[in-house]
């Protein structure tokens, strides 16, 4: 037998001035199942709570309804009070008679009548409430970071410094990512390697960090606190534990015509190589497409010269499986392909390059040792023209609809560095808008114009063509309303950036949502910007949206804070208001899993009795309460009504509807 207690709050005069609280309490007394009904000035006060607790004990209440302010205000308070009195906290319902009643109505009779209905509705619901227990799930105190660029490195260091084990999985042979390819960084112009490589070394030396380079995530199972991840360790044909990074193999390798991808293909490298001098791990890798031994079986020179016997042509991909409590995705970006932008002649002219290629051309460790020479003839370019927004903000289908965010700043950087180092060079920049929000950013850009005399032209380039050995850049100057053609020696395209394509696979494995541009979606654009909607998965760097290094590092540290906050817990308390299928009704049709944004639903084959001593095996849905967030999307999609939501069950809502409509 249900024993419901009702408590009507005055909220001082906030409710009592418009709602006749005594009348409400009195009227409700006669509701079936109600054994206690009281009103009080401030239910949320210490005394009010005491009154509730006392009533629960004295009257053996099985459920309580509080007519008061919004549940968003004090639901937690009243639940706690109920729990302290020995009543399950989920046997509490709130009738919102303040925000939804007294505050919006003026007529006392009308408001009182509505308050009664709202309380009745809450009673109807609470009668169907079931005591719920918040579940618990264990937390594995180890984090996985996917991607070893600056975002992954920063996140890993912060997590490891807090005392947790971290694995970095990097698909390339070294960590460092895009930042390792950069020359200088804005807005302070420090050398990228000088600030990045110490962090890379920290990672390598940190006792809590394990770097799995040349590896990829192959499969992910589990959920927040308890992921199980299978990692493919690609064969690098060099024993990582033996190689000392002496580079003798690189010298001796006879196959030297591979494109140096680290240098954006601007020069060549041998088939066995270490991507760059400060690579971590400082271990060689063999490109099987290029290696003569691996292709033809003849050669083996590197093996002969290797002093420590690290070369192993027989090496195969291996797999490791590890458990993690949290996962950080930091897969980064790449510049877009420029095939759809032939008007800039990128494919036809060696001296039309991308900004990332320029970084390598200007870098002391680059193909020209830091001397800016143009690729076609190794001459110093005297006129350099930059073109902004190549493929960014493009809705024609050729490029990307978004702003790539970093180009304005790095172009100002490039322009300034060139003018600084080669004052006789003329530098032009065609721009649509110069976007420099950020601390010291606009000042930086203005310095390029005012101190370094960079020629910024508001307008866009329509055509780049080669005439008599010169690159003719024809574009508009909108401020002067003219069409100009600039004879240039080098043209630099600020190509749009896009998420590293491998992110799609990672997102699928993690059931993390991804937008139409392949950026991972955050849980809330404003308030949960580093969390993926999938619990336990966090986002750092450009995989979530275009951003520069300072922002990336901030986001990575934010991620780390979130991960640490998760890993310090021994167990996770789970929201008990989650979906729960009735296995006897479930068809295993998969409709519910199709709409679950969190991947909380899986299917299992289960044996059921079907009468007559017989059993049958049926596929039924299984909700992981640690992953389910309780939205209820699945409940509606379930054809048999097998899926229901605890705390908001179909019957509860139906009874609320009935109570409201009762005339």
């Amino acid at each position: 037998m249900q024993r419901i207690g009702v408590f009507i709050c005055w909220c001082g005069s906030n409710i009592a001035a418009t709602v006749d609280v005594k009348k409400v309490a009195e009227t409700i007394k006669s509701e079936p199942g109600v054994v206690y009904s009281e009103n009080y000035q401030y239910m949320c006060s210490e005394n009010g709570q005491q009154l509730i607790k006392q009533a629960i004990k004295e009257h053996n209440l099985t459920g309580i309804v509080i007519g008061a302010c919004s549940p968003r205000m004090h639901e937690a308070t009243f639940r706690k009070a109920a729990e302290e009195a020995g009543l399950n906290p989920y046997m509490v319902e709130i009738a919102n008679i303040r925000e939804h009643c007294s505050w919006i109505h003026k007529d006392m009779d009308e408001a009182t009548e509505k308050a009664v209905i709202l309380v009745r509705t809450a009673i109807a619901k609470v009668k169907l409430n079931a005591p719920l227990q918040a579940g618990e799930s264990p937390v594995i105190k180890r984090a996985l970071v996917i991607g070893g660029g600056i975002a992954g490195i920063q996140a890993a260091l912060d997590i490891a410094d807090a005392g947790f084990e971290v694995d970095i999985v990097e698909k390339n042979a070294t960590i460092g990512g895009r930042m390792a390819q950069l020359d200088k960084t804005f807005p302070t112009l420090d050398c990228s390697a000088c600030i990045l490589t110490p962090k890379m070394v920290d990672c390598a030396q940190h006792e809590k960090i394990d770097i799995l380079s040349y590896s990829e995530v192959e499969d992910v199972k589990g959920f927040v606190g308890n992921f199980s991840v299978k990692i493919r360790r690609k064969a690098r044909f060099v024993d990582e534990t033996k190689c000392t990074g002496c580079k003798i193999c690189m010298e001796k390798c006879p196959s030297k015509k591979g494109l140096n991808t680290f240098n954006m293909g601007l020069n060549n490298r041998p088939a066995i190589y270490i991507p760059f001098a400060q690579a971590i791990p400082n271990v060689a890798v063999i490109d099987p497409e290029q290696c003569i031994k691996l292709k033809t079986g003849k050669c083996g020179i590197c093996q002969k010269f290797c002093g420590v016997g690290a070369i192993d042509y027989e090496q195969k991909d291996t797999f490791v499986e590890r458990q993690y409590g949290a996962i950080v995705v930091a897969t980064g970006f790449k510049p877009i392909e420029l095939d759809a932008f032939n008007e800039y002649g990128y494919n036809d002219n060696k001296d039309v390059i991308t900004s990332l290629e320029l970084e390598r051309l200007m870098n002391a460790a680059g193909p020209s040792n830091g001397v800016l020479l143009r690729p076609s003839d190794n001459e110093h370019p005297k006129v350099i023209t930059f073109i902004q927004c190549v493929g960014s903000r493009d809705t024609s289908g050729c490029g990307k609809p978004y702003c790539s965010k970093i180009c304005c700043m790095y172009t100002a950087k490039h322009a300034m560095l060139i003018r600084e180092k080669y004052p006789d060079t003329q530098v032009n920049v065609f721009y649509i808008d110069v976007r420099t929000p950020g601390k010291n950013y606009d000042e930086f850009y203005r310095r390029a114009v005012e101190q370094y005399g960079v020629n910024y032209i508001k307008g866009m380039v329509g055509k780049v063509y080669n005439e008599n050995g010169k690159l003719m850049v024809q574009g508009s100057n909108l401020i002067d309303n003219e069409q100009i053609t600039i004879e240039s020696d080098l043209v630099v395209l600020a190509a749009a950036i896009e998420p590293e394509p491998s992110v799609r696979k990672v997102a699928t494995l993690l059931t993390a949502s991804i937008d139409t541009n392949n950026f991972l979606t955050e849980s809330h654009a404003k308030l949960r910007p580093v969390e993926s909607p999938t619990a336990g998965v966090y986002l750092a760097g450009v995989c979530q949206g275009p951003k520069d290094i300072p922002e990336t590092v901030s986001q990575a540290s934010a991620c780390a804070a979130k991960v640490i906050g998760l890993l310090v817990k021994d167990k996770l308390k789970t929201n008990p208001c989650v979906a729960m299928p009735d296995e006897n009704m479930c068809n295993g049709c998969s409709q519910c899993a199709n709409v679950c944004a969190y991947g909380a639903i899986t299917y299992v084959d289960k044996e059921f009795r079907i009468g007559g001593g017989k059993t049958e095996i049926r596929r039924v849905a299984n909700v992981n309460p640690a992953v389910c967030q309780g939205c209820g999307a699945c409940t509606v999609t379930c054809p048999s009504g097998a899926m229901d939501l605890k705390g908001f069950s179909s019957k509860q809502i139906m009874s609320e509807v009935e109570a409201i409509c009762k005339k």
Partner: protein
């Protein structure tokens, strides 16, 4: 004359389903901003608009509600990421279908109301109540089938 007065006095029963994160909070804001709307609007709190089963809407009508309105986070702002996108499809089909059955289309509505849109919540409710009041009582779904002797 008689009829006109009667129509004026008709106060429709309105059931409003509001998602906890946006629209319910929007309704709270309407309250704390003292923005009035008729008392015949009663709100049912659901975690997400996608929890609203079309059966709830049908139940409301069958039990004598004169109008049913669903409120959720704006598309793209769903607390549960994608919930309201499913709501949008379900309700588009349900509302269209109810109209196909002959239920006045003015009795059903879906509005996206954020937690900041207290004023909008109140305006939407005022408008909806007015719209439903003009239609008069809902009888079609309370007795879809011909009663004996009719």
């Amino acid at each position: 004359m008689q009829e006109v007065t009667e129509k004026k006095e008709f106060t429709p029963t309105i059931v409003a389903f509001c998602c906890n994160w946006c629209s319910y909070a929007g309704a709270d804001l309407a309250g704390s901003s003292r923005l009035t709307y008729p008392a015949n609007v009663k709100i049912i709190r659901v975690p997400c608009s996608c929890r609203v089963n079309p059966m709830f809407v049908l139940k409301a009508f069958q039990q004598g509600a004169d109008g049913v309105i669903l409120c959720g986070c704006h598309p793209g702002d769903c607390h549960y990421v994608t919930g309201n996108y499913y709501t949008r499809r379900r309700m588009a089909l349900l509302y269209s279908f109810l109209n196909y059955m002959g239920i006045e289309k003015e009795r059903t509505r879906l509005e996206w109301v954020s937690a900041a849109e207290g004023a909008r919540f109140s305006a939407v409710m005022n408008d909806f109540v007015k719209q439903v009041a003009e239609l008069g009582e809902n009888k079609r779904l309370t007795d879809l089938r011909v009663k004996e002797g009719e």
